[in-house]
Amino acid sequence: MDLNELINTREQVAVQMTGEEEQVLIAEGSIIQLVSFVLEDVEYGVDILAVHEILRFPEITRLPNTSDFIKGVINLRGNVIPVVDVRKRFGFSQAKVTDLTRIIVIETSDKLTGLMVDNVHQVVRINRNNVDPPSELIEGVSEEYIWGIGRLKDRLIVILNLSNILFLEEDKV
């Protein structure tokens, strides 16, 4: 799915303001943009600056002898990148791969990683002031994966700590 398309079709939430004002705030970093996806009724967000691209579910090569939440590796234009099954990582049950299943390719510390998610919901903007530190509010998902919790009118978005998604405690697994 095209990222731009997503951004264009985004919901205008939170603050109403002109495009210019918004751009300034984004540039300042007081508004962050998130690519969000929904898992088990909870909406999660990934900082759009870390998102490299979003792919439809590609052919995945299983990677033996590694953590079970590693779905495998994919060929991204000649790069071999690992794909994290986010459901497994968060301890949810397995879900079927559907037409909506996406791989969000993120870049953290110079490495590309794919996050396999059930869907990609939208791009949301959220004011930094509306982001709270992680709490134990979110059931099932370990705090370590959470960077913060964004409040948006009537909904909450769990903002993910990307660097921990792949490597945290992996050795234990």
Partner: protein
Amino acid sequence: MAFSLGEYQDIFLEEADEQLQELNQNLLELEKNPENLEIINNIFRAAHSLKSSAAFVGLNELSDLAHMMENLLQGIRDGSMKVTSRIIDVIFKCFDEIHNIIDSIASGEKPEQDLQWLIKDIKAICEETTSKSAGGKKAAEREATGGGRQEIPKAIIDADTRKRIKDGIERGQSCTEITVFIDDKAQMKWVKAQLVVSNMERLGEILVTTPPIEDFSDDDNSIIKIILLTEAAIDDVKRAANIDLITRVDMRSIGLGMKEGKQALQFGDIESFSMEHEFASAEVPEERSAADELKELSAYEEDAAEEGAEDEEDVDLQEVEKIAVRTGDKAEERKKVTALKTVKVSIDKLDLLLNNVGELVIANSGFFKLYEEMRKIYEEKSLVNEFKSRMEQMSRIAKDLQSGIMKTRMVPIGQVFTRFRRLVRDLAKEYNKEMELTIKGEDTELDKKVIDSIGEPLLHLLRNAVDHGIESAAERKRLGKSEVAHITMNAYQGGNQIFVEVSDDGRGLNIDQIKRKAVAMGLATPEMISAMDDQDIYNYIFVPGFSTAEKVTDISGRGVGMNVVKEIVNELNGNVAIETEMGMGTRFVLAFPITLAIIPAIMVKVRHEMYAIPLTDVIETIKISSADITTIEGHEVINLRGEILSLLRLSRFIKLDSVLGPDDKMPVVVVGFGNRKIGLIVDYLEGKQEIVIKSLEQNYKTVEGLAGASILGDGSICLILDIASMINKVIAEQDKLSKYDRTRIVESDEAEVEEVEQEEAAPRTPTPGAALRQAPVRAVTTGAKEEPPRAAPRISEQAEKKASPAPPRQRETVSRADEPEKQSDQQIEKRVHDTLDEFRSELRESIRSTASTGEPSSHMIDALDLTPRDLNEFQLIANVGAANAAESLSKILNKRIDLSIPEVILMPLEQIPRHIGDIDSIYMGIMMPVLGDARGTVLFIFQEKTGYEVIDLLYGTTISRTKELNEDGESALQELTNIVGSSVINIIAEKTGLVIRAGLPTIVHDYLQSVIDSILVLHSLMNDYAIVMDTAFFFENDRIIGNLLILPESDTLKIIVDRMRSHVGSN
């Protein structure tokens, strides 16, 4: 072999070419504007750098010529000479000669141009003009350098200082000569000088300051020269000199070099740093002021650089003359060679390019699939054909591109090799050994990555060769070798590998010492060692820490760094092999794949998953059936041509179910790493393919068992197996196993046999020692799937038959005549023969292993689950039985019979024949199976001659009438045995209350070994040991008649003993 200046050749040629072009151009201009100082300076500078770079690569003649040119130009520059057409002509001639030299080097020939006449010419000009303007020179010089500035002082390097410099450099310090220019306008210059000196002192040791710091006076000095011995980086030195009002710092390194066969100090190029400008970028020689001073510097250089530059020159001149005589005017014939042009590209860029081209090749292969599809659908043939030809063109181009880029990564190994000349020379001195390093194949090209890393392994190999391989001159002389040892480094290509060798003609590796050491270090057991081939044993020297302990031995130290060698070479997908001959020398051969980026691999599949195994790791691919596999403690092995090969099921390793059924033939890839190998069981073999290695670490991390990934033609990813790590894992298990085996072979024979029973000695993988003794057991339990079970009785019968062929006169006697015989005798004979041979060799094997594990009898008792008490009690029965038997024998033969005290012994099967008598004589053995509750064999054995005698006695005929064993004789002996054996059996039955009966006796007439083998076969032995009751019967005159042996099966013995106890108890 082409002439080469070593690793700097390309750089030198490139530079020299540039300089020459500049010189030519400038000289042309000078001709037009003879007064232009700038042009003169430019020429001067170019000549100067040509001089130093020529000296640097060892072109002394060229350097001398440049030096003369410099002198000439200096005269022009300081105005003592006028630019005349004669001078210009001479300089042009110089350029031409230099050009010729460069050309010949570029074309790989040794430059042999005659420069003498030119040098003479220039000298003549110089002398002429300088003598004219003598005296004015000094003044002119001052003028040229801009008045008030002081001449650069000459550092005085006396013998003591020189020694200190040498020592310092040998300690790893670097020596730098620093010339500090203090601003003329500065007040209290000596304070500045003092400051610089004390700054320097903090960095290292100041050897000399010129002028001495205490003599530094504000009025006369503004330049101070410091010779510093330091470990600090050049930047630090610069910083230390960077204080206020210092205008410039010149530095040049002082190193050790060889001059005329003597060690001498060597001065590097001067690097100038202007302190008024930004630090790093200020390269003063580019600047006007610096150029002015170059003259002074060079003047200084002449004098300061080593004692007597004049002498040196003379020597060089003589050399040049000699060369001139040799070569004549060959130079003129030499044709022009196009200038060498190179561009420096970072390896990263190349890698990126290679990556992309790899993708291109892969993407391109996608078209082939498309073409296939198109061909099916489209009617329009011409269009499809056009597409095809375009596609093929593309693919060709892509492949050319790929190989072209690959080639850019290739670097000749010569530059690595030549580094070691010096090392060998130094080591030779250090160890006081005479040796000569021969370098071959410098032009062989290797991947840049290999070149970058190969230095260290080669260093270790050379060190070891010098240190441990090569004997002292005296020792060599004593051994009749040439006193000068030879070390050779060689590189060459063979197939798709590059070989790099380091060989010496020293003492070679001492295999016995390695063996001992390996055992001492617990790396192997003596029996493991004895089964290993030499190459495997030599490979122990690569084990980390090997040999470091025992400094006394020759091989000690051979291990130092050997592990590093192995590791680095393996990292580069290479291998190390050792060839050595005691007393003759050692050769280490490192083999590397030609390129590291693309490797050939064998593709295998487990279910739908494709994996690649680098071809360099593959030894062979075979197919086996599950029946070939032996499982011990969950560890699967097969016997591959007499070697134990541990197996690893790839499916299990990657945690996937195999599609192979139990009856399917299993493809096995035999892979090797170092001296170990294992078999990898896969589902399918998919053939060879070239693959581009991609790292997993780049975006993820190292995954156990995987060396990387590759992208296949269809864009899918295939994982590359890391054979080394897999082997290590399996071998660890195997090693455990062999220890286990060693002790357990004795202790848990049962269990082993149970499991071993699965094993089918595969017909296509011949397995010596495919245990005969297991065959009967298998028959009892499951039986083999593929061929009709070789049932125990049949085997024994065959064994009996086997016994017959050997000596011509004997014939077989098979008691069970009703046994159906379908196979031809020959076949049976052969099979039995083979089986027996195997059996014997296996026996030997197990004996050897027991022998080495300690006191045998206790093991044997343990193995048979007996106690010494059991044996004692059996002995009691045996005694009675034997006495009874003697009595019967006495009756039959009607003679008094003596018997030896029966001996119950446990012994390895193999030793039984030896125990009984002369294994090389022919015996008659009559064996009688013991059947019923207790099982075993009674064997009555006579020497051939005695056997005939007994027959005579039995028939009451004249002694020594019987000369051959006929039917009558046989039946007589059988009857005898029957009676004698039964008397023993009866006693046992009586004492134990067991129901035991005697079977039909069988005669074997053969060499003792065969006689015994026959019973052992019959005896369906599961152990390597037997309990033997042995008693010898004697005639009155002490002449031995024969031996009576009772060989109960071990569990029978147990039964007998138990029953006897209870029987006795109940009585």
